[in-house]
Amino acid sequence: MTDLTSLTLAEARHRLKSRAISSVEITKAHLEAIERSGGLNTFVEVTADKALQMAEASDARLAAKEAGPLEGLPIGVKDLYATEGIHTQACSHILDGFKPRYESTVTANLWRNGAVMLGKLNMDEFAMGSSNETSYYGPVASPWLPPNWSRDRGRAATLTSDKRGLLTPGGSSGGSSSAVAARLCLAATASDTGGSIRQPAAFTGIVGVKPTYGRCSRYGMVAFASSLDQAGPLARTVRDAAIMLRSMAGPDPKDSTCSPTPVPDYEAAVGRSVRGMKIGVPKEYRLEGMSSEIDALWARGAEWLRAAGASVIDVTLPHTPFALPAYYIVAPAEASSNLARYDGVRYGLREPSADITELYEKTRGKGFGPEVRRRLMIGTYVLSAGYYDAYYVRAQKIRTLIKRDFERVFADGVDAILTPATPSAAFGIGEKVSDNPVEMYLNDVFTVTVNMAGLPGLVAPAGLSRDGLPLGLQLIGRPFDEETLFALGETIEQSAGRMTLPEPWWA
């Protein structure tokens, strides 16, 4: 019998529908895989009982021919989504014990369509990080072994709390990416403020989609930077990501920034011809000192699209170099405002004091980790009297210029833009922790422009580095044209060949 955890979401859907397998069977197979994967530290809460209840209900609906689009499919949920009565802390100490009394719209949509929840996934604290090292629940290890490591050496490292030497699965959606690549769930929800879906996808050899801003409701997602945050899926194939996004997306009166545009059938776009499409390659993404293998991967991606009948042209996005610095003003500024709600009064951690200001300060001093604290302080500074215009307003003007760059390229008839996903393959846990936080921030150099302009972006695995680690390519589309990205992403996936994910050395 094929291992049920190795099926794609689409294959599992087919077998469930034909009743070759049951939801309880495939859910149990995943729960067992999760149990053996403790060393990766992907799940912060496993909801086994709930999963089995949901699976039984799904089996009943499948038998009654009342199945929803995701009926019986077990998935993981990033700890940033409010799930009623279940651990929701965005992996922060300050939300200790928080169990929301409501459900996020995105997860509610998934359950409405029949999906089964396996549990909550590890992440960088409040989604602030690029390596899943800022989580209060400790770092997540990638299922990819470092070059030349034996299984035993890998296993020994998973038993340490700092997991030093193992590879990071990226961040902030590191629990989601690691769990999907390790086949602990068929797919997972993730979120992306500056690259938090796409960089982890690239690092673990899977597919990640950050939809257009407003495509998914943000209701019930723990807020980081409200003008940049967007929900999206991580999955093992382009088709699986399309299936997930269709269920996650959609209008929501509870989020005034959520688009009323109906959700197309994204899966129908998978396999659609890309002949005649015009693909832009922006010269500004060719960074000084960029590794030759990233450059070669990018050229290969362009060649694949050309071979499929698309034309590839050079384009210019002149404000690209300013996107990352502008992001590190806008995102912390919004975060400092959003995270003001954690005051020790309404939920989570509380450090008692006889004085209200001291209660706030002590609670927040203890509850926030170093990266979150750093960003809140930067945000507070750039919004403070005398600096608001020089920093915040200037950054928002630059954001307008970044968006205009894209609009110009799309107005010239370009259907999508092709770029590398990350400047390198995955790095080691502990490798980029230094006195200069900017070193870590540079991970998002290719992804952050997309959030700044509100556009959709898809990352698909495109090959391996010299060291045998996965590398991804990014496609950037017009607002609300995710379908083109799915069509092009499928072309890349077909041309590159399905990524062979690592055998479970950790189990």
């Binding site: 009394r101 404000h319 003001a340 920093y391 200037r394 607002p479």
Partner: protein
């Protein structure tokens, strides 16, 4: 631009985050590294450019001005660390 130690203390207080005196110099270094990184923005000519307010052009939806829910005080208070008689409890704030 860079921040001095006094400014770091002031920011920490504005952000309502308790920071020990020993951590201040370290935080100063990190904040200054980020401020140095964003200095590049000064090069950009932004004359006449409107600051972005909404990344996707969309009219803010309106709804009927009616009460849609309520009477859920127990749910609102369910996660509070300290409550009494249906209220959040805080240290005395009025003399």
């Amino acid at each position: 631009m860079s921040v001095d130690l006094t400014t770091v203390r002031r920011i920490a207080h504005l952000a309502r985050i308790a920071v020990s005196e020993a951590e201040i110099p370290h935080l100063q270094g990190e904040i200054n590294a980020i401020l140095k990184f964003v200095e590049a923005l000064g090069e950009v000519d932004v004359d006449g450019v409107e600051p972005m307010t909404s990344v996707i052009p969309m009219r803010l939806p309106m709804r009927e001005d009616v009460v849609a829910d309520g009477d859920i005080a127990p749910l609102v208070l369910a996660n509070a660390p300290l409550t009494e008689d249906g209220f959040f409890v805080v240290p005395k704030v009025i003399e």
